[in-house]
Amino acid sequence: MLGLRAAKHQSFGGLLMRHTVLLAFFLMLSAFAWAQTSGKQLFDSHCARCHGIGGTGGEGPSLTRLVLQHAGDDEALSSVIVNGIPNSDMPGNWMLGTNDVKAVAEYVRSLGRAEEEPLPGDAENGRRLYEGKGACNVCHIVAGEGGVIGPDLSNIGIVRGLAHLREALVAPGANVALNYVVVTARTKDGKELKGHRVNEDSFTVQLRDESGRYHSLDKLELASFEKKIGESLMPSYEGELTLEELDDLVSYLSSMRGEP
């Protein structure tokens, strides 16, 4: 799948080439030396783990959009690359030099001007599956409607790319956000608890069970405490939905961009 996406990425190679020429010209004008590493290379090694190869999104948002929420202009984009975004998973990249930051920023901008990856299926049918066969709304809220055990999906099309959405449906435990890690705990008086680890420090853990109830636990007071890395409270839809239905559901999820 990764290979397929990489091949698609080649289709806007011509556009990239134009920008590379522009970028080279700009850097020749600047007083700085041109770092040999290109923006794409740097992006692939530093950013693609979360934003996906070609910026199509993953654990981090897709960047194949002209307007980026935290980077309205080039200066803001450079600042986000260097300093990260406070109170988010976006880390700073202080080790990138001035020219490297420029190269990455220019590459990210080029992604926004490229055509967005087309939806793989029928989003309207995906909506029906979401509320019907998939019953996603039992656990997820969208635009104020639905359950709250899982994450709010109102903006999921902005913050997650197609590949990540598909993975979340077929292997929901593969990539779990830190505050949705499944944990089990047993108190010294024998009470068993299972739920999402909402927060954790060296002494305490805050657990939210499947009924939505919070439990404030002192680790030292527990008989056992276990992180179920690789697990999710969400069931896998592999085999439950056909490949076509999965495409439709992914398309519907990707269309959720916070618009009413």
């Binding site: 030396a33 530093h46 080790m95 030099g97 020219n99 830190l178 420090d201 002494f203």
Partner: protein, 536 residues
């Protein structure tokens, strides 16, 4: 007038020493007082508590039995400027802390109320390449505080008023030189270390006349042409070689040597332009206090390509080794090995890993690492333990002479190391690559207690994530430390059993200290932008 003040100050100091009512009077902090800091544990007179850098308090009123009752007595909100990494100094009822980017604050230790505050405006084009805009504290000598600035000056401030006595430019900030470390005051000298390795500066250690600010000597940590060690660099690479001295060192009056760690060679992750060992990067240097002469060096990581600076605290200990008491310097190094070195001769004594590492087969009998193949950074990224930030970093360890254990805050974390091209341009980052650390539940932290004579791990207390906070041990057989999740906590120094913890509400990224208010033991630590003081 000045003479009269001295007489009054001495009188007040004498009254304090006699246990009379303490006021906010300032005593002379002589060299002899700092040298004998352990004899006045109610104060905290130098960055690491004493010249041996033990960060150990002889105060024993807070014990394993009563620490559960520890509670905040006051907090001081510095109000902006970024996370505090300051290690307070406490002298005769006054606490001195720093707040980034350029403020020194004097507080009444009884109440936390401000006595004075002094700020240095930072230039618009301030360069701090490769590190946060932070500061780790001040030094005091006589009636004067000494403070290193991000724009690379040393400033002498009157300790009673915050008025500037003198200031001196140490190096050119436009090249990336900067100061974050607390200076070290010894005899009549102020020893100043420098930051800027990620900008490709050439490192040095400086000594200034405490009274006048005149520079007395400078030791370049990268040897110049014709000097021994210059041949461990290729071509002109020594001119941009890094090896900066960005953390406070130690001092032994018997050898009259300063012990100071040096940083990584530049560029960090691409060593192609600097073939050789790159002396004296990633080393411990022993420097004659009077002349600035390099007496000996020990290099932990020759030709480093992972940014494993040796800017950790050198702990001076006289301890048993193979049946005899040796004068040693101990260091838990960023490269994940614990070292013992003879502090008279520089002879390597032993090394043992204290954290997970995948880069060296072992340390050979000369102290040189036997580096495993395929551990260099690559274009695609090469996964290795420890991470770029190392198995530990600048935050202080603590040595308790009671338990003979070294308490180290350990980072168990790995990184993909990347290699890239890098061309030196003055005043820009000179890195040659980067890292991507494995975070979240892939990483963890610990406080580990190491036997000072062997480095053997006697116990550990696991932390949720890799820490950025230092450790304090006390004669109450307690170890205090902090976490990235805001916990400040106390462990049993003998067993590691957790005895008390407090949620500060923000990252603890500083070093704790102990001192007295009205004759009672207290503990201070900074978390986020707030300084906390705890007491029974």
């Amino acid at each position: 007038m000045r003479h009269l003040f001295l007489v009054i100050a001495w009188g007040l100091w004498a009254s304090l020493a006699l246990g009379l009512a303490p006021g906010l009077a300032l005593g002379q902090v002589t060299y002899e007082r700092i040298l004998n800091a352990d004899k006045e544990p109610g104060n905290w007179l130098t960055y690491s508590g004493n010249y041996s850098s033990h960060r150990y308090s002889p105060l024993d009123a807070i014990t394993r039995d009563n620490v559960a009752s520890l509670r905040p007595v006051w907090v001081f909100q510095t109000g902006g400027g970024g996370s505090l990494e300051t290690s307070p100094i406490v002298v005769d009822g006054i606490m001195y802390i720093t707040r980034p980017p350029g403020t020194v604050i004097a507080l009444d230790v009884r109440t936390g109320r401000t006595l004075w505050s002094w700020s240095r405006p930072m230039p618009e084009k301030l360069l701090t390449l490769g590190f946060p805009r932070t500061n780790r504290g001040v030094a005091i000598l006589g009636e004067t505080l000494y403070y290193g600035t991000l724009d690379s000056y040393v400033v002498a401030l009157d300790a009673s008023s915050g008025a500037v006595r003198w200031e001196k430019e140490v190096a050119d900030n436009a090249l990336g030189y900067s100061i974050t470390a607390a200076p070290l005051a010894v005899k009549d000298k102020i020893i100043v270390g420098i930051s800027g390795g990620e900008a490709g500066v050439r490192g040095f250690l400086d000594a200034y006349d405490a009274a006048t600010g005149e520079r007395l000597w400078r030791l370049w940590t990268v040897p110049g042409e014709g000097e021994p060690g210059n041949d461990t660099w290729g071509g002109d690479s020594w001119k941009t070689g890094g090896a900066t001295t960005w953390l406070t060192g130690s001092y032994d009056p018997d050898t009259n040597l300063l012990y100071w760690g040096t940083g990584n060679p530049a560029p960090d992750w691409n060593g192609d332009s600097r073939p050789g060992d790159n002396l004296y990067s990633c080393s411990l240097i022993a420097v004659d206090l009077d002349t600035g002469t390099l007496e000996w060096h020990f290099q932990f990581t020759p030709h480093d390509v992972h940014d494993w600076d040796a800017n950790q605290i050198p702990i001076l200990v006289d301890a048993n080794l193979g049946g005899e008491t040796r004068k040693m310097v101990a260091m838990a190094n960023r490269n994940a090995f614990f070292y013992l070195i003879d502090r008279t001769s520089g002879e390597f004594l032993l090394a043992n890993p204290y954290a997970k590492q995948t880069w060296a087969k072992e340390i050979d009998e000369t102290g040189r690492p036997v580096v495993l193949p395929d551990t260099e950074p690559t274009e695609e990224g090469n996964l290795l333990w420890p991470s770029l930030q190392g198995a530990t970093n600048w935050f202080s360890p603590s040595y308790s002479p009671r338990t003979k254990m070294l308490y180290v805050a350990v980072r168990e974390m790995s990184s993909y190391y990347f290699k890239a091209e890098s061309v030196y341009e003055p005043g820009t980052s000179f890195l040659g690559g980067g890292e991507r650390a494995l975070q979240g539940d892939d990483a963890a932290g610990a406080i580990r207690a190491l036997d000072i004579s062997t480095g053997e791990v006697k116990w550990e207390f696991r932390q949720h994530s890799p820490p950025w906070a230092g450790v304090l041990s006390t004669a109450g057989d307690l170890v205090f430390a902090g976490t990235e999740e805001g916990n400040f906590f106390a462990l049993d120094a003998e067993s590691g059993e957790p005895l008390w913890h407090f949620q500060t509400g923000d990252d603890v990224r500083s070093n704790p200290i102990a001192f007295e208010i009205d004759g009672k033991q207290h503990i201070a630590v900074a978390a986020g932008q707030v300084l906390f003081v705890f007491g029974l």
